[in-house]
Amino acid sequence: MKALLEVVGVSKSFGPVAAVDNLSLEVGGNEFFALLGPSGCGKTTLLRMIAGFEQPDQGRILLDGVDITGVKANKRPINLMFQSYALFPHMSVAGNVAYGLEMEGVRGAELTRRVDAVLELVQLSQLAKRKPAQLSGGQKQRVALARALVKRPKLLLLDEPLGALDKKLREQMQIELKRLQQETGITFLVVTHDQEEALTMADRIALLRQGRIAQLGEPRALYERPGSRFVADFIGQMNFLEGARVGDGFEVPGLGVFGAANLDDLPLGAMGSLALRPERITVQESRFEGALAAEVEGMAYLGQDLILHLRLGAQPKILVARVHAANPITTHVARGSRVWCGWPAAHSLILSE
């Protein structure tokens, strides 16, 4: 994969706070890349440096192999879709979309043709003459997208693109954004704090923490093989059982000795946490091999799934299990029910940090 965007050792501080700390990453051509992280992790600062609105204190930013660190924002073949959309309120939808092309000197029939084409792409042709104030949130989002796409940038940056939309529309737009990225062949770099959004849309995700990359990889890798407790906790839901590596496995005091997918990576005697996804836990009414006795402490009904809060023996920790609605146990389990739970060793991980 040839790198389109290269961020090389970039740092940026605001006063004593390092927003981005010696960060490097590469984004390939035609990739859908997500910068994911909690608020204050530096993802927006990094995005603004790539767009050209902030200058890095250190490091370089390259686009297509060319150093653009010192290039002004209006000269970069990069466009940004703002979180607030930042539509020009005094211009119509078509006027907003045409603006960027007019700045390039595109005029007349060519201008009209390209504006019409991109409005068609985002299904806004009917609203071309409206002003932004007359549009719904979802329509504004499409205008913002069209305005950036019409310039045919090498790289499109999207700052929390779906943050202002309601849940239903957000899910619909996740698929829509993915479609647009594939149809246009433009590289998308999305900033989001929503792990579900990143998992759904991105080809690769960089999870940021305190200005550094906590983990970079494909969604599946981040979800199934998190490298640290932070990653495991941030992406999806995770149960942690503290313990230590012993001769024949990982011992959780009071519960027993367990196996794990990465057991061999942990040196003997080392402390760590056994990490377990809620949906990997099997819950049954009758005892099965390797099962632990548990009491149902609480339940949450989600429609397709049932969330069970399980107390294991005298453990202070509550184990969260996610049971599919098709499981017969969901129909007669209740608070206080005695159940048995277990998990395959291959679906648990030991995380030492």
């Binding site: 609105f53 002004k72 005094h90 603006y99 960027g100």
Partner: protein
């Protein structure tokens, strides 16, 4: 209950405006349709004569001259005020208040004193002429005082703070993302100003211009002191009709015309702002 609270809250203000603004203006309007008494009083005989006189070319020139001076003052105030207001609006929040207080500081001293200070500066023997002669740049003093230049300088000095305040409130309301979006789409700083900042701050420009124009065209102290009373402006004309010529009906007619012009301008500005607000309501 809501209605009674409304009356309690707005009543004093409305009563104040009625007693001291609306009723006097109405009296003025009424007086402008009567004849002047022989000894300076008002004879209550209905006539349009005062208005017929007001459109006499002699007074037309005074109207025109006042509008010209006020117009030039407005344009200079806009040219000086916009960059200042822009800088204040873009400076860090904690510094904005200090800068705005500096802008308003001159308003804390008496208007007459400030006007006299300009006479000291612009005088033939004043600071500016003496400094220029001292530096050897000119030989004879420049005619800086008692002309339109002096009037416009004095008016601009006096009213530029109002322009800055009006522009500041408009510019600071503009989301910084709009300028960034324009830059991001390839616009130069100048193009961003022309296509985004300027059109979106038109309501502030209109408000500032109406302020300065209305205040300038009605001013009679500055034309009197800095203009030397030679070039009569509309304010001076009204002043003279009431206090020197004792022709209250004619003075009232001219005052009514000026009020009408000002109201037309304010209405125009309000319409502009309303239209703009409707566009930006949900942005």
């Amino acid at each position: 209950m809501v209605v009674s609270r409304r009356i309690v809250l707005t009543g004093p203000g409305i009563a104040w405006i009625m007693a001291l603004l609306v009723i006097p203006c109405a009296l003025l309007l009424v007086n402008s349709f009567f004849e002047r008494g022989i000894y300076g009083g008002i004879d209550y005989i209905f006539t349009f004569e005062n208005y017929a006189r007001a459109i006499d070319p002699l007074y037309g020139e005074i109207f025109w001259n006042s509008a010209r001076v006020a117009g030039i003052t407005t344009l200079i105030s806009l040219a000086l005020g916009y960059p200042a207001a822009y800088c204040i609006a873009l400076s860090p929040k904690r510094r904005q208040m200090a800068l705005l207080i500096l802008v308003m500081l001159p308003l804390w001293s008496n208007y007459l004193i400030r006007t006299y200070a300009w006479m000291v500066l612009l005088n033939g023997e004043g600071l500016i002429n003496r400094s220029l002669i001292g530096l050897g740049l000119i030989e004879a003093p420049l005619p800086l005082l008692y002309n339109d230049f002096a009037i416009i300088t004095g008016l601009t000095y006096a009213y530029v703070p109002f322009m800055i305040l009006a522009l500041f409130s408009s510019i600071s309301k503009l989301a910084p993302e709009l300028r960034e979006a324009s830059t991001d789409l390839g616009a130069s700083p100048l193009m961003t100003f022309w296509r985004v900042t300027f059109p979106l701050t038109l309501p502030g420009i209109a408000a500032g211009c109406v302020f300065v124009f209305v205040l300038s065209i009605g001013n009679f102290v500055t034309p009197d002191l800095l203009g030397g009373g030679k070039r009569t402006m509309i304010g001076n004309l009204i002043y003279d009709q009431f206090l020197t010529a004792r022709d209250w009906p004619f003075g009232s007619a001219i005052a009514a015309i000026v009020i009408f012009i000002m109201m037309a301008l304010l209405t125009l500005q309000a319409v502009l702002i309303n239209r703009r607000d409707r566009d930006e309501k949900t942005v």
